[in-house]
Subunit: 215 residues, 3 copies
């Protein structure tokens, strides 16, 4: 059996993971975009439509994550460490979960999303998801390492900016909102948005540990 | 040395894990039952007795978890992937922790457990723990795969129902409770109850990944 | 090639991890000490200086954690299980993060750190970090197992004491603080302090699983 036959047997299984992660990359990037649209929409009902779209996209993400775990159980051959595949899928799933959760809470609590802190955090998450896509699409061939590391550096920077926006928003919230129940609601939304940027950073950290080992 | 002697040497070590997970299964199922009794008890002092029982059961669970980790450190031969054993024991421990924690908080905060949301969530957790037991007791021989997958499907459905009950309860809480301190207390209890159902789903997910690989 | 040459080639890589964990041990222990100084400082501006020091120390810790993960990616030879190294570095990083975060929140929320619960929790964290250092410094030669296990027992006991202090503090907070916004702020600080002691216990649990396997 020559190398070509060998490749035919093993490469397709290998490619399964790249294909799945690229699907997730596209989906998560669209969720970031949709989040910005959602928090920019002043009308409750129209916003509810966007939130339902995000729910659908989050379900799509769950399916991909589930298939990655199933393939991980089936495949002896993986393109990078099994535990890295596991961590990467989990971190991406957490990004999707927190994007949908933050959008859902806005209508759930009937909070005005016009708050500048909410808009800024949504924008940073959107940029983070774009960079995640940039990095993930380069994983398959690993030829453009610089493009990956640049994306990772930007994700880390976005997370730092999000921390500052979060701090400023929470301090303003406590200083200006006298209704403690409103404080609880808005703080919850800020927290979930901020966790979404932490999860983007987790994705970046796993990708870094992958390229350190394999590049 | 024949196959029988071989089996005699290795099987007992293998069985250690099944035995321990079955002990945990029984214990967690009893904790679910006890939680329903606890939130159904109107008298503070009698309820305190049930909470102490739950604390004892949670300690028993800690002991089993600790023994699973110790065996994992000692045994080179495990009936399924070492990391799956680790995840499964951790997820079951989290179920037990959250059941005890939610019950404890009711008396701790002196909250009336007669709330319909609390009762419904406790009931869903109880059902989830019963299904966890159903699934875990089938792991040893893996002959009745359908029974395991049916239990996993039901655990996932229970978690979805719990999400809905949680959402409804939190919205009602914010709409009807004017004392923000009471909102904080009750929201904390709802959150811990809801996390308990998430942890039941985590258990189901690990069991699924085990049967995908070994069945 | 004799055993000595073999040792020369492999031992230095092995030692990298001990060196890094010992650096972390010293850093975390200093952070525990600094936390006690911070919560004992009545002046806002002077306290702010201590918080900035803690931020620097937390960054130093991040660097060490990052180097441990990088070495883990590079090294095929590790002194103990790769996953244990991963868990240990993560748990130590969580201790450092929660120490800095709790200190930061005190000035962030402009809360009076003179509260007896805050002081007691900071003291327990300080003791926990000292015991973590005691245990980590013995890992390299593993000759004084008793010294390690004694430290682990004390860390577990400190975590139990912290649980009690936390419960008492939260109950007193709800009973005596009428401003719900203040309840939210102080509860947040108590929670982060209590999580720091949980993370100390996580460190102890990983160290225990390491010595069970290798001692």
């Amino acid at each position: 059996m020559g190398l070509n036959s060998f490749a035919k047997i093993f490469m397709p299984k290998d490619k399964v993971f790249y294909n799945l992660f690229e699907e997730v990359a596209h989906n998560v990037q669209k969720m970031g975009e949709k989040l910005v649209v959602t928090v920019g929409e002043p009308d409750f009902e129209v916003r509810q439509g966007h939130i339902r779209d995000l729910e659908d996209m989050e379900h799509v993400n769950d399916e991909f994550t589930h298939r990655i775990f199933t393939e991980l159980g089936r495949n002896f051959i993986t393109p990078f460490d099994r535990e890295d595949i596991h961590y990467l899928a989990t971190a991406l799933d957490d990004v999707a979960d927190n994007i949908y959760s933050s959008a859902k809470k806005i209508n759930f609590y009937r909070v005005d999303p016009g708050d500048p802190g909410i808009k800024k955090l949504a924008g940073l998450i959107d940029q983070g998801c774009q960079e995640i896509k940039n990095a993930l699409l380069e994983l398959r061939n690993m030829k453009n390492l610089r493009k990956i590391t640049d994306a990772l550096v930007r994700i880390n920077s976005l997370e730092n900016q999000a921390d500052d926006v979060y701090d400023t928003s929470i301090q303003r919230l406590f200083a200006t909102e006298n209704d403690a129940k409103e404080v609880i609601k808005k703080r919850d939304i800020f927290q979930v948005l901020e966790i979404a940027t932490d999860k983007c950073e987790d994705v970046a950290n796993v990708i870094e540990s992958i390229i350190v080992k394999y590049a």
